[in-house]
């Protein structure tokens, strides 16, 4: 029996070839394009990839498991701060030394926050995650001696500990790009796995899942930790790209930013949040050129438009369009 490969949400995969060629084209653009761009735009593309990872990590719990967390930046920021603190206060200099501990801290915080937040669900859960993230914001703001308070901490350019590597806009880009590819494929495997399907089942109908024998709390908890892990990765990449971390990377503002990327792009698709990140950051860049002071206003309007008119996100719409094009030009029948 031939098994149709399942995409998340269970839609059958039609035209594997189409999909791989899409990956190829996009991959090519991502790899080759930056070489021809000015430094600032290279930095922008790096930012997009960093936040794409962050948004994908949120999608794992938001889009796939149905956990609306508004405190996800906590893990993003913790990883970034750990790296910065290690470099500034402990003289630990190379990436290979700072990265593991930073990811560990992010994952640990996720483990602790998960236990607290998952005592409740739905709106309560949202409020609690928001409060916990803000608690970290307050700590970072207050704890001037360690965290630099409101000013944050700056770090020197990325030191890989590899001779011959210098940190430039383009080398940072490729550095982040490699991580992006790895994270994307890891997350893709997770959501396609039996575990990933359980998460979706929990999102769709948690009581039913319990009746089917699943320990739904445990699944949610594990997903929460994994999401924290990947958020930590993006946090480390962020601080190396930005060379500065501040309390704002811990709190509501950063968390809601990620949530927007997810819902604008399309929750539960993994690709959607990547597109969402690109759109939001692109728009932010546009606003910075014309009217930077009004950016929060536009951001708010984007929220409103996304919720009222773009339910389900941009990616599913693009996908449908693509399918229609595919059907028009396909040679054989693809109906199951």
């Amino acid at each position: 029996m031939k098994i149709a490969e399942l995409k998340p949400g269970g839609q059958p995969q039609q035209g594997r070839l189409v999909r791989f060629s899409l990956y190829f084209v996009i991959g090519l653009i991502l790899i080759v394009l930056p070489i021809f761009l000015p430094m600032y735009l290279q930095g922008l593309m790096t930012k997009i990839l960093v936040f794409a990872i962050f948004a994908m990590s949120l999608d794992l719990i938001w889009g796939y498991t149905g956990l609306s967390s508004m405190g996800h930046a906590a893990f993003f920021g913790v990883a970034g701060y750990t790296t910065a603190i290690l470099i500034r206060h402990y003289g630990v200099v190379t990436f290979l030394e700072t990265a593991p501990l930073s990811i560990l801290m992010a994952t640990l915080f996720a483990a602790v926050f998960g236990i607290i937040s998952l005592r409740v669900s739905g709106l309560y859960f949202l409020m609690v995650t928001l409060a916990l993230g803000q608690a970290l914001f307050s700590i970072a703001w207050q704890w001037y001696h360690i965290t630099g308070g409101a000013f944050g901490l700056t770090i020197p350019p990325l030191n890989l500990g590899i001779p011959g590597f210098t940190s430039t806009a383009i080398s940072i880009y490729y550095f982040v790009f490699i991580f992006f590819i790895i994270c994307y494929f890891l997350l893709r495997r997770i959501v396609n796995s039996p575990f990933g399907h359980v998460l979706q089942g929990i999102r769709e109908n948690e009581p039913r899942m319990r009746a089917l024998g699943y320990n739904t709390w445990l699944y949610k908890y594990i997903a929460f930790i994994i999401a924290g892990f990947f958020a930590g990765i993006s946090g480390i990449l962020f601080v190396h790209w930005n060379m500065l971390i501040s309390p704002y990377q811990l709190g509501m503002i950063q968390s809601t930013y990620a949530a927007l990327c997810v819902i604008l792009g399309g929750p539960g698709t993994l690709v959607g949040p990547v597109i969402g990140a690109a759109v939001v950051i692109g728009l932010e860049y546009g606003a910075s050129l014309y009217n930077p002071e009004r950016w929060p206003l536009f951001l708010g309007i984007i929220f409103v438009i996304s919720v009222m008119f773009l339910r389900g996100g941009v990616y599913p719409r693009l996908n449908n369009l693509w399918k229609k094009v595919g059907e028009k030009y396909s040679y054989g029948s693809t109906k199951g």
């Binding site: 609306s68 508004m70 607290i116 005592r119 409740v120 739905g122 709106l123 309560y124 949202l126 409020m127 609690v128 928001l130 409060a131 916990l132 803000q134 608690a135 307050s138 700590i139 207050q142 509501m252 503002i253 809601t256 949530a259 927007l260 819902i263 002071e293 009004r294 950016w295 929060p296 206003l297 951001l299 708010g300 309007i301 984007i302 929220f303 409103v304 996304s306 919720v307 009222m308 339910r311």
Partner: protein, 288 residues
């Protein structure tokens, strides 16, 4: 001993402001299943509007109280009628939508009033101090407590003694009915939503006596409101009241004892409540 009395008064007065802010959130949530996170922003807008009237234009504080509250009420109503009403039952969407409005309201306020924090303001009538326990206690704080008590009584009267109140209470007792009623109750919807936002605005101008209006309040006050709801329990008035008082007192005693760590006490209380009784101290009763 004096410190205890002072902290008590501070805590209760702060708690009153928090209560007025969160009561609207709690009722609309319990009655219509609608969450409007921009309440904090409404609080802020009213505070600024009041500032403009009182400090810049020299009008009476009492007028500012009314105007600020009405502005907040109207904005809240507009958000509900124009947007939230189309999102019944979609909690996530409501959250994201109203977060969008926080950004919008905050940035518009920034545009109108600029980014400087303002000094607290109050009516000259309420200036001066009162002698309590050998200390001089600001009159306006007493006013806040008094106003709070009057409003609590007014709300109680509305809910227990009027027909509208009975309908609201019935709607809040039964989640299913509330959702169904939410769609059919037209004018009650209007009233409840306006009232909730109105009270948030009132809280904003009343609170402006303690905390000068500041753009960042849109987020900060919201955070306080959410902690109040988690601690006190959502969807009920008693919950909002007890949560507000607990947080108000924790904050004021915290500041008296360990000023640097004061704000963390609130988070610790929230975490304790979550681990011990996740639904909050006095949540709305549910069946089953």
């Amino acid at each position: 001993m004096d410190l205890v009395v002072l902290s008590l008064l501070n805590g209760v007065s702060f708690g009153m402001v928090l209560f007025l802010l969160t009561i609207g959130l709690s009722i609309t949530l319990g009655l219509m299943g609608i969450i409007n996170l921009s309440h904090g922003a409404l609080f802020m807008v009213a505070g600024f509007a009041g500032w403009m009237l009182v400090v810049q234009l020299g009008y009476s504080y009492w007028l500012a109280l009314l105007v600020g509250a009405i502005i907040a009420g109207l904005i809240g109503l507009a958000i509900e009628q124009g947007f939230l009403s189309r999102l019944y039952g979609l909690t996530n969407d409501q959250v994201l939508l109203t977060i969008g409005f926080i950004y919008i309201l905050m940035n518009l306020s920034l545009w109108i009033w600029g980014g400087r924090a303002r000094m607290p303001y109050h009516d000259p009538l309420l200036a001066g101090t009162f002698s309590i326990a050998g200390w001089q206690y600001p009159v306006y704080r007493i006013f806040i407590i008094g106003a709070g008590l009057i409003l609590i009584l007014a709300i109680w009267w509305l809910l227990e003694r009027t027909r509208i109140g009975a309908i609201i209470r019935a709607g809040m007792d039964d989640i299913e009915t509330a959702k169904a009623l939410g769609k059919n109750m037209g004018r009650i919807n209007y009233l409840v939503f306006f009232l909730g936002s109105f009270l948030a605005g009132l809280a904003g101008v009343i609170g402006a006596q303690m905390m000068g209006p500041r753009i960042g309040m849109g987020w900060d006050i919201l955070l306080l409101a959410l902690i109040v709801l988690v601690v006190g329990g959502m969807g009920s008035i008693q919950g909002a009241l007890i949560g507000a008082m607990v947080i108000g007192l924790v904050d004021s005693f915290g500041r008296a004892l360990l000023p640097d760590l004061a704000m963390f006490f609130m988070y610790i209380v929230m975490i304790i409540v979550l681990m011990v009784k996740p639904s909050g101290i006095l949540p709305r009763e549910s069946g089953g």
